[in-house]
């Protein structure tokens, strides 16, 4: 009996902890967003964060998208050949990339890079009193550290996904024309014939949400880290793990909301 009660209590406590944290993260995000409309604005920091997220993630995201497009073309060809539906390869590649794989893979790759980097950077600032120092230097640390990064993350991910979409389709086209027996013109025609603007736009909306989430996780775990190098290491891990899980979970939710009508 006691054992059962203990178990229930433990589950309850864990549930409460998750709720409390979700609430705290939400308040943190709201405060950061409220600084978007209150001066001063840190344009220089925003530009730096945008450069770090968008520009320096380009190679990673581009390579990921290219290879994913190539694999998709090969795999779907094998499958569709069994139904004599090889012509659908180009469609499958472009739809999978724009609607699903572009945003998700870019989100996961960038959260490994940026979520971790932000958590480590802000966490180090926390444990070395640099965040306290900001307060004594007439600067709001949320406005200075978090708001520019959140904004940059939300804008950078859609930009990266546009690149990912193009390179993903290019990967499929490369395989389609070099390894499979498509002509360049047929492949491109069937790529664009069935593609709708909505497919691309919804993918970009997903990307913006993922960009917001992964920078939010990086900033939150960094900002609240405690206890020296170990604390910062833990914050980095938590940021990457939680943003990866949230990206996959939100991907489902958003797909449900955006596509499945």
């Amino acid at each position: 009996m006691d054992l059962l009660l203990d178990a229930v209590a433990a589950i309850g406590r864990a549930g409460l902890r998750v709720c409390r944290m979700a609430g705290a993260v939400a308040l943190f995000a709201l405060e950061a967003l409220s600084h978007l409309v209150r001066p001063p604005f840190y344009g220089r920091l925003f530009a730096r964060a945008l450069l770090e997220i968008a520009y320096f993630s380009l190679p990673v995201v581009a390579l990921t998208a290219l290879f994913t497009g190539m694999v998709l073309a090969l795999q779907s060809y094998t499958g569709f050949a069994r139904f004599n539906a090889e012509g659908a390869v180009a469609n499958v590649v472009v739809l999978s990339i724009t609607r699903e794989l572009g945003p998700v893979l870019a989100g996961l790759m960038v959260s490994g890079r940026i979520g971790a980097a932000f958590a480590a950077e802000i966490g180090t600032m926390r444990v070395t009193d640099q965040i306290d120092a900001l307060v004594t230097l007439s600067t709001n640390p949320m406005k200075y550290l978090v708001t520019p990064r959140l904004l940059a993350g939300t804008i950078a991910l859609p930009l990266l996904v546009i690149v990912a979409d193009i390179l993903g389709v290019m990967g499929g086209w490369l395989i389609g024309t070099l390894r499979l027996d498509f002509t360049s013109a047929t492949y491109l025609r069937s790529t664009f014939d069935f593609l709708q603007a909505g497919d691309v736009i919804h993918g970009l909306v997903k990307a913006a949400v993922f960009g917001f989430i992964l920078t939010l996780m990086g900033c939150w775990f960094g900002y609240t880290s405690r206890g020296g190098a170990q604390g910062v290491g833990g914050a980095t891990t938590s940021a990457v793990v939680s943003s990866s899980i949230l990206i996959l979970a939100l991907d489902y939710v958003l797909t449900d909301l955006l596509f499945a009508r």
């Binding site: 001063p40 009193d129 640099q130 306290d132 120092a133 307060v135 004594t136 230097l137 007439s138």
Partner: protein
Amino acid sequence: MRDDGGAATPKIRLRGLRKAFNGKVVLDGIDLDVRARRSMVILGGSGSGKSVMLKCVIGLIEPDEGVIEIDGRNVLAMSRREREAVNDRIGMLFQNGALFDSLPVWENVCFKLLAQGRIDRRAARDKAAEILAQVGLAPSVGDLYPAELSGGMQKRVALARAIAAQPDIIFFDEPTTGLDPIMGAVIDGLIVDVVRRLGATAVSITHDMASARRIGDDAAMIHRGRIVWTGPAASLGQTGNPIVDQFARGEREGPIQMELRR
């Protein structure tokens, strides 16, 4: 303890300041007056709550109870905006420097001036060179990053950053810990110098008796979360208070028992 020598309001006045972390009492009713344009040193063992006390005054830690008055006004009852205006006039040197390692030294030094819009970025480099000169550093140091400096240079840069905006009140949290004795004396000299030049009120935390006598006009001893003694800094070592005298002479036997057990 009567210490308000006349009608003048103290610059900083603490009454009944209490703070506990997870049930562990750190500040247990701090009463302290710091008079304007005086330099007060705070003594106390490691972990006795000195840094926590300063962080309460500057608003980085919310005390559980008590009154903090600056210029006779309770800062704990102020709106956020008023509190920020008060903090604009306070400078702080953190125990470990807390320099921004992503910014070059010149930007660190002029950070508050830039944040308050008192100078633009173009003028900031020259201004930084000027302030660095006051703490005995060459203008070329301005282009280095904090990680490229020695510990003593970092302390000087942190000092330069704390005084750059010409504050009314300056807090120094262990400005000389971890420095060689000569560099310690140099930093002490700089502190005395800038405090006098700015006409500021200074509160310094230190473990070092020689340093305490050099920097301080007044001294206060914190022990078990309370101020147990205040008096002139020059009398340290022969105050007649057993706690202070034990601390000042660094004796193992006496009223202060180091808590080695957890």
